[in-house]
């Protein structure tokens, strides 16, 4: 409390008397009383947007005030008001009669500039995208935007401006999420029905964020309807979802939101695998997952709100083979994430948010095999478990000083526990136990950021973040400057520039291909210094008639990168110690991103193009020369269109193109001594070849019907990879039999086989929403 009083005192000292009044507005849905973050507010033709709490603040210098508030899916508010003193007003916006998911003809108000490095998405934006297996997905939807891509098909994680998946800070109501993926990267663990909005930063990071190099994904969970109970259920090709929300009290002060999803692939595979039990097929594969959210939100008193959320997901994958080695593999993994936030409004100038959170990710892999020979059975088993957990306390304060100055500052404390790998192996009666090590990192951060707007055309953000981490007897200290500025060249043109330094206190040793979760997290140490990232970017945007055009160039350097040693996999030959990695590598990425958007009218669409380079260098790899990173993709194009038709129909078309990633092929080969017919490959340079280009067309057709009861239903038909492109998952050197034209066997030749994962995949889903 003392820090709050100190800040309040300082705020009064800094306060100047050159305005009429401070207007603090809170924008809510009139029915549910949920806040509407990102609403566009025009005050005498100057624009602001509501924050994550639905609030905006503006100094009123001229009366009367012409207020215009707009938000997609809601009726505009247009009014003239007069303010003689500091005032807080609640603006209740009325939803349009059409369901949220339909595209409206409303044109969004414009902020005056558009930044490529900050993206804001709403769940309705995700619903419109073509879906894989009938499931809308948050992370997949982000990949149509420039600078954000997925790895090869079937892999997990987002690659933002050339970074790696571990370099993305993913927050769910301010709590970190370590592994946001289900199997094979099909889906993320985030259910769009439960979310309020998603903010993504690719650069120009605000000082309140830190700990990761490449991006910030800040997801907020919906508060729930405070006045009415409503919900929905969805059945799709692979999963079913149930959502329920409503008031917890009759006073419209408390609400809850409950969301659950269950994947029933396990049930389907059980039916298919019945042949396995009957001995008619040698292999059995099973997979299922479930995830769920619970959020409580309440207004304790005027200006004080409390919210608490809990998220849990669990995945199970199993494989059994009766033939080769009677192998049996099972993998379990999941996240548990919880956070509680107290948001306090001290006066019309000072706002504070205090967050306590806990997050845990764990996974276990269990493999057994039995080899039989001459009536002998040799049993081998392997168990590998890994754990990552973090709990912390954050205090963030926003101080509105006056029209020109705003301050954001705060302190953060986090404790991260990492158990990278605990392995138990049993072979031929001998048991071996290896624990990589249990580590704790205590992190302390303090930050301050000044928003300075000397004129209505120029805005400057200067931030400084002090970071410290303690691991055993090693202490890391660093300063991270954050600078960004925008200048409005003309009414419809804006230029921006930004510079950031970021530190990351962990390394992820990722499985290079298969979308399995058996990655290994390692804490920074003396031998594995923390990663450091430097990023500079410059951008320009222009508002055309109905289009936004944005172009941005960036350069990013990442120090203290690590790479896996040769021959390491994550099942049979996992990394054992520090010598399993190549360390102190450097990465550099640079490129140009362009985005053309149309967000008004019955047709919405985006066209994005990225030209980029992505390099790595390690002293003892590739003779110390720079080599292309595995996910170095020169050209990246994404076209996304959504069209509103008649009779409740809406259509979506997505087309994505990526240049092939880099990979290593052997340059010569020779026979093995131990096994006849086995050949040993010789690899000289790293990633010297390119996979074929990746491109894919997705289609979606949705039909929405409003029932007489006011409820409505939605049928969705989706086609993933509509022209059945054989996109490369990996390449394999195989001995292939060759024949002449008469069918005579000529011999065997080594050829490079193109293995792909997903053919054309149709899907269907049904959603019913009741109010």
């Amino acid at each position: 409390m003392s820090i709050y009083l100190l800040v309040y005192f300082l705020s009064t000292v800094l306060y100047t008397n050159s305005y009429d009044a401070i207007l603090v507005g809170i924008v809510l849905d009139v029915n549910s009383k949920e806040v509407l973050p990102g609403a566009y507010v025009s005050i005498n033709s100057e624009y602001v947007a509501t924050d994550e709490y639905g609030q905006f603040k503006k100094e009123i210098a001229i009366n009367p005030v012409h207020l215009h508030i707009s938000y997609v899916g809601y009726e505009d508010i247009d009014t003239v008001m007069t303010f003689a003193r500091d005032t807080q007003i609640v603006f209740n916006m009325t939803p349009l009669s059409l369901p949220e998911i339909l595209v409206t003809e409303k044109q969004e108000a414009r902020l005056g500039y558009h930044q490529l490095d900050k993206i804001r998405m709403l769940p309705k934006d995700i619903e419109f995208q073509p879906q894989l297996l009938g499931e809308a997905d948050v992370l997949k939807s982000l990949t149509i935007l420039p600078g954000i891509s997925q790895g090869t098909e079937g892999t997990t994680g987002l690659f933002v401006r050339g970074g790696t998946p571990d370099q993305n800070l993913i927050l769910l109501d301010k709590a970190i999420v370590f592994n946001p993926n289900h199997l094979f990267g099909f889906l993320s663990v985030f259910n769009p029905d439960a979310l309020q909005e998603i903010e993504v930063y690719k650069g120009g990071f605000p000082a309140k964020y830190g700990g990761k190099l490449s991006s910030i994904l800040d997801l907020s969970v919906r508060q729930g309807d405070k006045t009415h109970t409503k919900g929905s259920f969805t059945l799709s090709t692979i999963a079913s979802k149930v959502a329920l929300e409503g008031p917890l009290s009759s006073s419209d002060k408390w609400s809850y939101q409950l969301n659950g999803r269950y994947c029933y692939l396990g049930i389907v595979s059980t039916i298919i695998n019945s042949r396995y039990k009957q001995g008619k097929q040698p292999e059995r594969v099973g997979y299922s997952f479930y995830d769920g959210y619970l959020k409580l939100h309440g207004n304790l008193s005027k200006g004080i709100t409390l919210s608490s959320q809990l998220f849990y997901n669990h995945d199970i994958y199993s494989y059994e083979d009766k033939t080769f080695d009677k192998g049996r593999l099972s993998i379990n993994w999941g996240n548990l994430v919880s956070s509680t936030q107290l948001h306090t409004s001290f006066n019309h100038r000072l706002f504070a948010t205090t967050t306590v959170y806990y997050s845990k990710y764990d996974y276990s892999l269990n493999y057994t095999s039995t080899e039989s020979s001459q009536d002998l059975n040799t049993r081998t088993s392997f168990i590998n478990t890994s754990l990552l957990g973090e709990y912390g306390l954050k205090m963030d304060l926003d101080q509105y000083v006056n029209e020109k100055y705003q301050l954001n500052f705060g302190v953060q404390w986090q404790n991260t526990v990492i158990n990278p790998s605990n392995q138990i192996t049993e072979s031929s009666g001998t048991t071996y136990n290896h624990n990589y090590g249990h580590e704790q990192i205590a992190k302390y951060n303090v930050y301050g950021e000044l928003h300075y707007q000397p004129t209505h055309k120029l805005e400057i953000h200067i931030g400084l973040r002090g970071v410290g981490a303690q691991l055993n007897d090693t202490t890391f200290l660093a300063i991270e400057p954050r600078i960004r500025s925008t200048y409005q060249i003309k009414a419809d043109q804006t230029a921006s520039i930004a510079f950031s330094i970021m530190h990351q206190w962990d390394h992820l040793i990722a499985n290079s291909a298969l979308g399995l979760p058996n990655d290994i997290w390692l804490p920074a140490s003396r031998q594995l210094p923390p990663q450091v990232g430097y990023q500079i970017q410059a951008g320009w945007s222009k508002l055309l008639d109905k289009y936004n055009l944005s172009i941005e160039a960036y350069y990013k350097q990442m120090n203290h990168q690590i790479a896996v040693e040769q021959g390491i996999d994550f099942v049979v030959n996992p990394p054992e110690n520090i010598n399993s990695f190549k360390r102190n590598g450097v990465g550099k990425t640079y490129g140009v991103e362009a985005l053309l958007e149309k967000k008004s009218g019955s047709w919405h669409g985006t066209l994005s193009y990225v030209l980029s380079w992505n390099w790595r260098k390690f002293t003892d790899l590739n003779a110390g020369n720079w080599y292309p990173f595995r996910y170095d993709r020169r050209h990246d194009i994404a076209i996304s269109n959504q069209l509103q038709g008649n009779n409740g129909w809406s259509y979506g078309i997505n087309w994505v193109f990526q240049s092939g990633g880099a990979f290593t092929l052997p340059e010569s080969t020779y026979p093995s001594y131990q096994i006849d017919g086995d050949y040993i490959s010789v690899y000289k340079s790293v990633n010297q070849y390119r996979l074929p280009s990746y491109h894919r067309l997705d289609l979606s057709f949705k039909n929405t019907k409003i029932k007489s009861s006011g409820n409505f239903r939605v049928w969705s038909f989706d086609i993933y990879n509509a022209y059945n492109r054989k996109n490369t998952y990996y390449l394999s050197l195989q001995n292939v039999s060759v024949y002449d034209s008469t069918g005579s066997y000529l011999g065997k030749v080594q050829q490079i086989k193109n293995i792909s994962l997903f053919p054309v995949i149709p899907s269907i889903s049904y959603k019913y929403i009741f109010k």
Binding site: Q374, L376, T378, R379, T380, F382, S427, S428, G429, T430, Y432, L514, L516, V564, Q566, G567, I568, D569, V572, N573, E576, N577, Y651, P666, E667, S668, T669, Y670, P671, S672, Y673, S681, Y683, K684, Y689, L699, F701, N703, F717, I719, N721, Y723, N724, R725, K726, S732, N735, V736, G747, K748, V749, Q750, Q751, I752, N754, I755, S756, P759, V760, P762
Partner: protein, 283 residues
């Protein structure tokens, strides 16, 4: 009814029958040219012997025999030429001299049109397996071994199960691999591990008692009349070769493993020239 669901079904039918994209790809892989591959393992019980192959481009015919039959293969020691190995026409070259323990040797192979391949120096390691005690047992159910080390010894169980496929009449055999220290292991604890074996740093075992158990209950037929333990003493280069070959063999069936090269101590060529020794104990 809208025409769009009908259109989507048509798209599926067409796409399902015409998949675009190639099944096999062609890359113009640079090839450094033919190189000599030497496989030569020497021990104090046998004369020098080597098997020679040549390399070939990565993507090519694998059915052709690529033994080298016209090579000049010599073994040298510190004093100079020691032995000339003679070929039998099938790529195998046999010498006349039996190597000694702890003496450095190297092999050189010359073939017209190939760069000359020469190995690094290698020797049969000396070992100081001072004492091995075995518990008395009546049935072959469990063997406890107590080992006292003088000098640096590492113990590696390596790929023992493959021997059972071929069998040994009428005995059963269990292999243990020891790698005398050549400063290649820098820390205590386990330094090599895979599903079928383990190795320990000898620095931690020096002058200490240690014991480990081989549970042969699942691996031995109780009616067998005897059981044999083979202790292989490996030179460090042989250990590195076996370790990296094992990874290569395992990664062949694991699609997500990082590409790996097999260790070689042959300059201008590939393969391995390394010494080893073996002692056996029969129960």
């Amino acid at each position: 009814m809208s025409k769009w669901p009908i259109a989507s079904v048509l798209i599926l039918i067409i796409a399902g029958n015409f998949r675009c994209g190639k099944n096999y790809l062609t890359y113009d892989l640079p090839y450094e040219g033919d190189r000599i591959v030497i496989y030569s393992f020497f021990d104090p019980e046998h004369v020098f012997k080597a098997e020679l192959f040549k390399t070939k481009p990565a993507v090519s015919d694998t059915t052709k025999d690529i033994h080298i039959n016209n090579a000049l293969v010599i073994v040298t020691n510190a004093s100079g030429l020691l032995d000339t190995l003679l070929g039998d026409g099938s790529g195998i070259y046999t010498g006349h001299i039996t190597p000694e323990i702890a003496v450095n040797y190297r092999i050189t192979a010359s073939v017209p049109g190939y760069p000359e391949a020469t190995s690094a120096w290698s020797h049969i390691p000396e070992y100081s397996l001072d004492q091995i005690e075995f518990d008395q047992f009546e049935k072959i159910e469990e063997i406890q071994m107590h080992l006292t080390y003088v000098g640096n010894i590492r113990i590696s169980n390596f790929d023992t199960s493959s021997l059972y496929y071929y069998g040994f009449e009428p005995e059963n055999t269990y292999d243990i691999f020891l790698v005398p220290d050549q400063a290649i292991f820098k820390k205590c604890g386990v330094i090599e591990h895979d599903l079928l074996g383990q190795a320990f740093s000898g620095d931690c075992l020096e002058d200490t008692d240690d014991s480990f158990t081989i549970d042969v209950l699942n691996n031995v037929e109780p009616t067998w009349p005897s059981f044999k333990l083979n202790f292989y003493i490996l030179s460090p280069e042989l250990f590195q070769y076996m370790k990296t070959w094992k990874r290569h063999f395992t990664n062949d069936i694991i699609i997500y493993a990082e590409p790996s090269n097999v260790y070689t101590n042959i300059e201008n060529g590939y393969g391995i020239f390394a010494g080893r020794n073996m002692i056996s104990k029969i129960f």
